[in-house]
């Protein structure tokens, strides 16, 4: 049984409405997405801006209302008993946000920031609470004495670790990390990525990692789903996608990854041109008349590609 299973998830936002405004079509931010995350594994959601990857993550944790579809966590339907399409917020699922500057309340002390989820779900005495926060800060490599400090006293990487401390406070089973390192410098990024992997092993955590950076996705993920305009174009293991990409959009995305070897520059240029011309030529085979991807079809036990009904 998968830890998390998402089936036919749709999140539509209403178009502009109101007096004198013609109602427009709803924006289909997420349009029928499904995937599974196994325990202890990392699932990567990749896509460009506007692909719906962030909305998918936010819908799973209940920050965006679902239009339809279901989310099952440990066999339990989270969509059941929903009010207004909102999921029951789970202590077992936590989130890490992209911007460590705006996601921490600047007016609160570390103690209050990290203890916030504890206060929502557990009744601890102030003393116990302080002890727990100290442990958590130590766990993420910050001094336990800094509980009375404010976020602005920390660097970007340290702030992101404060965010992680808050996320792991309740010992969740799944963490949704939305571009957790894209605001950080390379050397700090490495630190946070290492740390995420460490706590994953230690706490048997699963991750839903949302990123546009294929280098990070490849480094971190077991399985990957590639999104385009609210739908999946391809899904499979990291190896499936990086070694045997099938969909033209995946190929195009992969060809855009910078090559670190200048000797291969020419080769890469030719490869990109080939992919680009294939993209133009094969576009209609891979996308329907609205420019959207077809439903996924399995091509191996682990690998699925969006393809039209016939052929």
């Amino acid at each position: 049984m998968a830890l998390l299973e998402v089936r036919q998830l749709k999140v539509h936002f209403p178009g502009r409405g109101g007096w004198f405004e013609s109602r427009t079509q709803p924006v289909k931010a997420v349009d029928g997405v499904g995937f599974r995350i196994e325990e202890g594994q990392t699932y990567g959601l990749v896509g460009e801006s506007g692909s719906g990857k962030t909305t998918t993550g936010r819908a799973i944790i209940g920050l965006n209302a679902l239009t339809s579809g279901s989310v099952t966590f440990q066999g339990q339907e989270l969509t059941l008993g929903k009010r207004g399409g909102k999921l029951n917020f789970r202590r077992d699922i936590q989130m890490i946000f992209q911007d460590p500057y705006s996601s921490l309340n600047p007016k609160k002390r570390l103690l209050d920031i990290v203890a916030e989820p504890l206060r929502n779900f557990e009744r601890l005495s102030p003393l116990e609470e302080k002890q727990r926060v100290r442990e958590l800060l130590e766990r993420v490599g910050l001094s336990p004495d800094s509980i009375y400090k404010y976020p602005h006293e920390f660097s970007g990487g340290q702030r992101q670790r404060i965010g992680i401390a808050r996320a792991i406070a309740l010992k969740p089973k799944l963490i949704i990390a939305d571009e957790p390192v894209s605001a950080l410098d390379l050397s700090v990024q490495a630190q946070v990525l290492n740390f995420l992997r460490e706590i994953q092993e230690e706490m048997k955590l699963s991750f839903l990692l949302i990123s546009h950076d294929l280098g990070i996705i490849r480094h971190m993920c077991d399985r990957i789903g590639i999104m385009y305009k609210g739908r999946f174009v391809e899904q499979g293991t990291t190896e499936d996608l990086f070694e045997r990409p099938q969909h033209i959009y995946t190929k195009r995305l992969l060809s855009a990854i910078p090559v670190m070897d200048p000797a291969k520059r020419e080769e890469q240029l030719r490869f990109r041109e080939a992919v680009n011309s294939e993209y133009k030529e094969a576009y209609e085979r891979y996308f329907d008349h609205d420019g959207l991807a077809y439903p996924l079809k399995p091509i191996s036990a682990t690998h699925e590609v969006a393809a039209p009904e016939k052929g």
Partner: protein, 336 residues
């Protein structure tokens, strides 16, 4: 030396914090040749953007020392009116965030035209518009007449970045400075913009300074690379040398921390400590010293200098000779 389009000598840019001046760019010397892309790489706080702004003379309140020469003409002591004539005509700049780099209340056409108004007073209104449409086409905007009338917020990020580029190249500058030109963009758009910059560079034969934190972009674009740390250049080399035979401990550490450089799921290399803030930069001795504490103090120079260890390959401080990563036994010696 006659190839040198731009030469920077001992450039220092200091900013006032409280009642003291702190150098964000500290004694930087480098050259850019015609038709060459020099990448300046560094993390936030390394002074790379401050360097770009200093070359363009865009800092309004910095103390600038040293010299910047464009084709032999010294820029740092030029009066503002002369500098205005050079900016936008001989030097163009591409900014990072295209939404904030464009005036929100002006249609993009007028914003491009402004560069023409300022430097080609001979053009009639009609000619200016024609030239602007031509520029829009040149930067790859389909339907340039339509785009001309748009306000910045009505265009996509990729389109806006093309407008910013059109402004920078409007007068075919000799020097083009691109400050993180693709940081805010998606990978496929990034590729298109990089291609465009490369093509325009060849078309107008400009020298390009590409400021970036992204080693991938560097690898795609650069002919030569300068690595900056804490306001100083720590290593300069050709791209292939820098990637295949990096010497300075900082360069080597950076290259090791790229996820793509390691086995998936393996541990990435992490540089100890943090980048010191401007007020707390060590002004004496090797600035990278505190990040590699396991290296013997005696390995560093007292006043670290740039050493030319191979033709065109410069490294600051002597610590590179003795640097090894933690866990690495053998000590490497210099370049081969």
């Amino acid at each position: 030396m006659h190839d040198d389009l731009l030469s920077i000598e001992h450039l220092t840019a200091s900013f006032r914090i409280g009642d003291r001046y702190y150098a964000a760019v500290d004694d930087v010397s480098l050259t850019v040749r015609k038709n060459e892309i020099l990448a300046i790489v560094g993390e936030s706080g390394s002074g790379k953007s401050a360097l770009a702004f200093s070359i363009m003379g865009l800092h309004t309140r910095a103390k600038i020392e040293g010299d910047v020469r464009l084709d032999g003409q010294s820029l740092t002591r030029l009066p503002p009116s002369k500098m205005n004539k050079l900016r936008g005509r001989d030097m163009g700049m591409i900014f990072q965030d295209s939404l904030s780099a464009l005036n929100p209340l002006m249609i993009v056409g007028s914003q491009i035209e402004e560069a023409l108004v300022l430097h080609r007073p001979g053009l009639s209104k009609k000619e200016r518009k024609e030239k602007t449409i031509e520029l829009l086409t040149q930067v790859g905007i389909a339907g340039p007449e339509l785009a001309y009338e748009k306000f910045p917020h009505e265009l996509s990020g990729g389109m806006r970045q093309r407008i910013v580029i059109a402004i920078a190249i409007a007068n075919e500058p000799r020097l083009l400075i691109a400050d993180e030109p693709t940081t805010a963009l998606d990978v496929t758009i990034q590729l298109q913009i990089l291609d465009l910059i490369r093509k325009l560079k060849s078309d107008i034969g400009a020298g390009v300074i590409l400021i970036t934190h992204d080693l991938g972009v560097v690898a795609e674009m650069a002919d030569r690379v300068a690595v900056m740390y804490a306001g100083q250049i720590v290593e300069i080399a050709s791209l292939s040398t820098l990637l295949s035979n990096p010497q300075h401990p900082y360069t080597r550490s950076l290259l090791r921390s790229i996820p793509a450089s390691r086995e998936p799921k393996s541990k990435l290399y992490v540089i100890q400590g943090i980048v010191p803030s401007l007020q707390h930069l060590p002004r004496q001795g090797c600035r990278f010293r505190s990040r590699i504490p396991w290296i013997d103090e005696s390995a560093h120079e007292e006043q670290p200098e740039m050493h030319e260890i191979a033709p065109g390959h410069f490294v600051r401080c002597t610590c590179y000779k003795h640097f090894r990563f933690p866990g690495e036994e053998e000590i490497r010696h210099g370049a081969s």
